[in-house]
Symmetry: C2
Subunit: 315 residues, 2 copies
């Protein structure tokens, strides 16, 4: 059953012993929306806890501190920012079939739940959580404000991406006034790089090549470079956004070597160049400006295949 | 005479034939505040024009289009975002002594003017321009909204820096609703790098060294690298922010080779490490977390001097 923000708040008001789940590899919006909801429910005197398939990642300790979840047998299960059952990872088997309330902003959401609040127009799940908390009548403590701010800022690339909307700016203003330490959060989320990530950036920049009069830029991420830099897979997040940021580039290609010698292609395009059409030719798919596919190696062969698919689509 | 926002609007209401000046090497806040004011005055039926010591840089054409300034003999002179007479460059001799109204947000402003509206708490001059336009009773056209948004977004690093305040978020929301093409502006201002800048980034990253258990990071910008990358001096903007963003780094040092063989030092620090104290020891100065000085070359000698000044201040 599809419900609105006020109805979600009404349901939560009547519930207790609430388990809040978020998705694997939790990001700022996953932790932010889950913990903001947890603390709001606790202020109403309810028992609740947050669980994720990957626990509580140290990179977000500024948000949840030394959180230790309360032990109790859940009577209600809420998912926050979870677009599908498979994203519950190791928690899916136990909980995916008994979700009471699903709160999410992803365009495609195939999680079954008794009640669904899925609003793709929201820039972040935290934009929904903000309104639920207002409907709950709970005041925004500095910790809740920091959690909401984190989710909104991270899912909009610090208000840079096209999904940013006027309301998220107004929510950010309110959360800053409620005590969110936005300068610290911005520094940690947007202005800090690990030494390993820096090293992989350097190695990857050395592979940069231009094609078709600079309209296409290609980088590759060899396994050897990842090993040399000693980075985890999650530290590679965002590298594929880089070739598209170069002036004049319409299609930015990232070729990531896979263990089986094939290459995972991430394609980012600007404006009217259709990434999904290009990757479609190679058996992949995605969105208009961001798509992916997998092509056979070695590197030079993979590159040839991708470039042949890209060229006719350039403007 | 120091005046407030409403008084500035009242003055402007009574004036005509207004010359609006902004500073050399104009940035988003300089152009944004100057053109927003121009268009607001024109909507009141006034004759006005914008001049800068460096004209109308092509990188900001999205903001002012094919602007061509009207010819008239100015009766009133307004400066926007100009912190001192020397920043008027080639226009200083003609106009610096006859400024009627100075609108600015810099902490230190030593421009003489009949009326001064200098508000260091404002994150951008555009934050002031926004209020002046409201007091003028002019509605925000998409072009004015884009100009205000550009100034606010660029001076806060797209809402990332510590100078961001709740009000700039609310102004951004209003300007988005008034038609500012924020996705385009963000893409041009924050997600586009020239090929030359990319090349200099790559060359500079190769010079990265860590000292004192990774608490200090040093990069250098040799003249040869700048020449090889073929970049203009203004394309080097922001490079010195980079070493400080590395995890664990307390002091980030950038050494820029000068034509005379000396080195210009830019020091950025985190938290309690006092950049101004460190640069003070070397005859320079600045703010607590951003300071500068000049030291004699060659590079290795310059590095030694700076590192000796940095080490005792680390935590």
């Amino acid at each position: 059953m599809t419900i609105d923000l006020q109805q979600a708040a009404q349901l939560l008001c009547g519930w207790d012993d609430i388990l809040i789940l978020t998705h694997q590899k939790p990001d700022g919006d996953a932790y932010g929306s889950a913990f903001a909801l947890l603390w709001a429910l606790e202020r109403l005197g309810k028992r609740a806890r947050v669980e994720t398939p990957d626990g509580y990642l140290p990179g977000f300790r500024f948000l949840f501190g030394n959180y230790s979840p309360k032990a109790f047998e859940p009577r209600f299960v809420v998912t926050s920012d979870v677009a599908g059952p498979e994203l519950l990872g190791s928690l899916a088997e136990r909980w995916a079939h008994r979700v009471d309330l699903c709160i999410d902003h992803h365009k495609i959401n195939n999680l079954s739940a008794a009640y669904r609040l899925v609003v793709p127009q929201a820039a972040a799940t935290c934009q929904l959580t903000y309104h639920i908390i207002r409907h709950l009548g709970v005041c925004f403590t500095p910790a809740i404000a920091a959690a909401i701010y984190t989710g909104i800022a991270t899912d909009t690339g610090c208000f840079r991406y096209a999904n940013t909307n006027p309301e998220v700016h107004r929510i950010a203003a309110n959360m800053m006034e409620a005590g969110a330490d936005y300068a610290l959060i911005n520094k940690l989320m947007f202005d800090t790089k690990t030494k390993g990530r820096l090293e992989i950036d350097r190695l990857v920049m050395e592979t940069l090549e231009y094609y078709f009069d600079g309209r296409c830029a290609v980088i590759s991420i060899p396994n050897a470079a990842v090993e040399r830099a000693g980075v985890l897979e999650e530290e590679l997040d965002g590298i594929s956004a880089f070739p598209r940021t170069i002036e004049g580039v319409q299609a930015g290609v990232t070729l990531r070597e896979k263990p089986d010698g094939n290459y995972r292609v991430s394609l980012r395009t600007n404006g009217d160049v259709d990434a999904s059409a290009i990757c479609g030719k190679l058996g992949g798919g995605g969105h208009k400006n961001a798509a992916g596919c997998t092509v056979p190696g070695p590197l030079e062969e993979a590159k040839k295949l991708v470039l042949a698919a890209v060229e006719p689509e350039l403007l």
